[in-house]
């Protein structure tokens, strides 16, 4: 059952990425050149919707949060710095 849920969620995830244009090289690179901010709009909209939904559901007592990604200030920052290089190169 969990596998079917994962598969369906994955399909919708991939579908939304494709429709937002995030599967294209120029969309990803242009956000770093400030000529097309679709990636930022997409990410931030998803964040806001999911944030408000999740905190509302937790407030109603319907869900519990899974393990929140751990904070290692140096690790997260350095990882992000290297990640950006790869992202601008490949357009992933």
């Amino acid at each position: 059952m969990t596998n079917i849920i994962a598969l369906i969620l994955g399909v919708f995830f991939g579908f939304s990425l494709n429709k937002a244009g995030l599967t294209k090289y120029h969309k990803i690179v242009n956000v770093f050149r400030f000529t097309d901010l679709a990636v930022l709009k997409f990410m931030m909209t998803a964040l806001v919707v999911a944030m408000s939904g999740l905190y509302a559901l937790r407030g109603l007592g319907l869900i519990e949060f899974p393990n929140v990604p751990a904070t290692y200030i140096v690790g997260n920052l350095v990882g992000g710095l290297i990640f950006g290089v790869g992202m601008a190169l490949t357009g992933y």
């Binding site: 999911a50 790869g86 992202m87």
Partner: protein, 181 residues
């Protein structure tokens, strides 16, 4: 109804609409299976599985035993779904390039900057992907697994990661594009 069908056939959605869809997917993932969306971890699970067979000694370490246990995890199934979801998205807008000529390197902007050779596109994609996966391993997630999924739980790690990602992304784009920036 007709409006919705027409919208599905559109090649490029408003990022806000697509973002709302992803947000809902993120909520459902936590609600129904108590998991976070993520793509990079799945590659490590698969790599761990292959590595345990080929070189068990090299893969017998903390990272592959406890942090990223090998196996067909929830994330691997999700990744398969992402692949097909992307294909369905392209098919509905009739831009699916599967097996067509020029499908291996089709981005116009890429060709303007790097030239039209296909091997170059594949080489840079391969090297860049190694950089990406390594960085995701250090940070504990990628754009979807850490920035979006962590961000929606208001994890500080996610925002540190986004800061780093944009700082170096902008710098790299500056170097690649130089005077065309």
């Amino acid at each position: 109804m007709k409006f919705i069908l027409n919208y599905i056939h559109k090649e490029e959605w408003s990022p806000y609409v697509a973002g709302i869809l992803l947000g809902i997917v993120g909520i459902v993932a936590v609600w129904l299976s108590d998991s976070l969306l993520g793509a990079s971890g799945a590659f490590e699970n698969i790599a761990g599985m292959i590595g345990k067979v080929i070189a068990p000694a090299a893969f017998d370490n903390m990272y592959f035993n406890f942090i990223m246990p090998p196996g067909i995890t929830w994330g691997v199934i999700l990744l398969i779904g992402i692949f097909f979801g992307g294909m369905i998205g392209a098919a509905t807008s009739r831009t699916l390039m599967w097996g067509k000529k020029g499908s291996a390197s089709s981005d116009e902007q890429w060709k303007r900057i790097f030239g039209s050779q296909t091997w170059k596109r594949w080489l840079i994609a391969f090297v860049g992907a190694i950089v990406l996966e390594y960085a995701a391993g250090i940070a504990g997630g990628c754009t979807s697994g850490l920035a979006i999924s962590g961000g929606m739980l208001l994890a500080p790690a996610a925002f540190l990661f986004i800061m780093g990602m944009f700082a170096s992304g902008i710098l790299t784009a500056l170097i690649i594009y130089r005077n065309r920036y």
